[in-house]
Symmetry: C2
Subunit: 381 residues, 2 copies
């Protein structure tokens, strides 16, 4: 049986640049050689921090502060460090109603009180709703530890926080005295030119934004090369919490050598491949379940979100899809409170593009076959 | 001015196997290719875990449990994870009176009550003293969280915990219901054949030992490839605390490909180089300060410990040595309570072997020039 894996935030394996990375490894090792006996330092290999800065400048027109950039094991370790620094047990944090399950896992592990803010799937978090939540917390004398947001190609919905909302979020963070953790893991996975506004980190004028990004999502989760950027005093506070001796300079140097030469070209190739996969998913859904479900039409990133009818038997859907080898992620994993929502997330970059119509057709059939027969009754409830 | 750097636990840069690592990178990348888009899993790249097991079997005659081995960013992240799991604020931990400063840093960060156990520089921690401390704690109704020990080529003294002491430590851990964290970072850096007894992890029959080791100390701190090994329930408890998405599979696969082919040969070459450096340090000290100081004569590892006369002005010693470009680590950094001891640690693997006589001669002169003139008076105090 074929495996139609729409699970996990993995890039396209078919455009993985094996040969170019072999050349980059040779360059990196010849450049560093015996210097690799030294510790990379807690902030990590400088060449990759400089590359992160150039990457940011390419999108945003300004560089990153290299000395306040710290390389981490993927963006997950950045999240672990940043959230672990600013969240104490019982603290309140705000995030989109639907957000990355890994972030929710860390927040729960840290015993945070997670407040979900309503959102739409196009422009992201609703700022009126955010203000309302902040007001309500203030009435209870609660200052939240942070607002966590995935500003670009949000996981799981693909939403892009609009410029106006970004500006308003910064104002609200200032007014209610909290920080913003901007998770920009998917920022370079664009299917159309320049779909995203300036980053919160760039727009910030009152030192309230910590920026997180990664090379893993445009290359491979297995390389584990993420980073966070924070001005002082935040940077020092986060590093006070870091005891791992820094991220592998060997892996960092290879990734740096590769992207110094190939960033634009690689993005062109891999984004075209991932964009075509996204389109294939959308086309197949259009063909089979357009009367039954609604779904997002991402302009980038790795994820598409399907809202299913309330009449969907989620357990039956899982069983039927799995019988055909179709894997997806349950929507409830991304709900801030783990509510049993009738929705699923598809990660479309991993499956072969030629297999997508078949896989998504099976999924559509499974969705159709998972509708309870008492539709009218349920709707009347 | 030359730089005589006897600081930091770094391997020999001159035997760093650049060319072999280039070949290993090519092999690793061709083997993995697009699979690198996948997460390595929290336990890390299986090929390196298997190599860790073979490495253990080579020394100890038995393999490691591969599924209970977890790759980390150097041994530091292993320490961070293991200590972070078992030490709650206010908990008591026992360790050698002199031990690795990085471990002490993590313990202090975790707000542990650190109890230093007297030791000697040949056979390590004194077991009668350990029993006395454990008895005393029991009288106070305190069950310590762990005994932390560097069993082989101890940092900072070079001591090797004797087999008899290992057996007794295991009995005491059982009797007083605590665990042992065995840090075996330096186990393969042997200057004489088979200088070290069986590991505590191998000798353990009651699941009380967590084992930590690394490839960084026999290759390069910059590769950041360490690991811990723990049986259940410890393994699960530690991983419940791990949120980084696993260590770079790219770096792990390169290190695995290299050592699969070259472990014995590389150890032969690099241990001969490091052993010669250690001997050069000892010879130069013998020549210049044999009447004034005493020092250890390591049979392996990266460190040598010098006990200085009580009349040494440590601040003057630092200044004079630094004026000649000689760097070393202050002994107090390794004291469990940070006491201002008259001792220093030399890390001998980094400096070029031809520079060692000159550097250590400067150090000897600095030691001589740092003796207070009121020797008799100080001794009479």
């Amino acid at each position: 049986m074929k495996d139609f894996a729409f699970t996990g935030g993995r890039p396209d394996p078919f455009t993985f640049p094996t040969e170019e990375l072999i050349k980059a490894s040779e360059k990196a090792l010849r450049k560093l050689g015996g210097d690799l006996v030294n510790y990379p330092g807690e902030s990590g290999y400088k060449g990759l921090r400089e590359l992160a800065s150039m990457r940011f400048e390419r999108r945003e027109g300004v560089p990153l502060p290299v000395d306040n950039t710290s390389i981490t094991s993927g963006s997950m370790q950045a999240l672990e460090l940043v959230l672990g620094t600013f969240i104490k047990p019982g603290d309140t944090v705000l995030t989109e109603e639907f957000t990355y399950s890994g972030t929710l896992g860390i927040m729960r592990h840290l015993q945070a009180n997670i407040v979900g803010v309503p959102m739409d799937y196009v422009d992201g978090m609703d700022m009126d709703a955010l203000e309302e939540k902040l007001k309500e917390l203030k009435r209870q004398n609660v200052t939240p530890s942070m607002i966590y947001t995935t500003s670009n190609h949000q996981n799981p919905t693909g939403a892009i926080l609009s410029l106006e909302r970004r500006q308003r979020m910064l104002e609200l963070a200032e007014e209610y005295d909290t920080i913003i953790v901007e998770d920009d893991c998917y920022g370079d996975i664009d299917f159309v030119p320049n779909p995203t506004p300036d980053s919160l980190f760039k727009l910030d004028t009152s030192n309230r934004v910590i920026f997180i990004a990664t090379f893993s999502k445009i290359l491979g989760a297995g390389v584990r090369q993420g980073y966070f950027v924070a001005n002082q005093p935040h940077y020092g506070m986060i590093h006070h919490n870091r005891w791992d001796g820094g991220t592998s300079a060997l892996a960092s140097a290879i990734v740096a050598e590769f992207f110094i030469e190939h960033l634009d070209k690689h993005l062109e190739i891999t984004n075209a491949a991932v964009g075509a996969k996204c389109q294939a998913v959308v086309d197949t859904l259009d063909e089979h379940v357009s009367g039954l479900c609604t779904w997002t039409r991402p302009r980038g990133g790795l994820f598409l979100w399907i809202d299913l009818p309330e009449t969907t038997d989620m357990s039956k859907l899982n069983t039927l899809a799995s019988e055909k080898g179709v894997g997806f992620s349950s929507g409830s994993a991304f709900h801030y409170a783990g509510a049993p929502v009738k929705a699923i997330r598809l990660a479309y970059a991993y499956c072969h593009v030629d297999d997508i119509p078949e896989g998504i057709t099976y999924l559509a059939e499974a969705i159709q076959a998972s509708q309870s027969e008492v539709v009218g009754e349920a709707a009347a409830d």
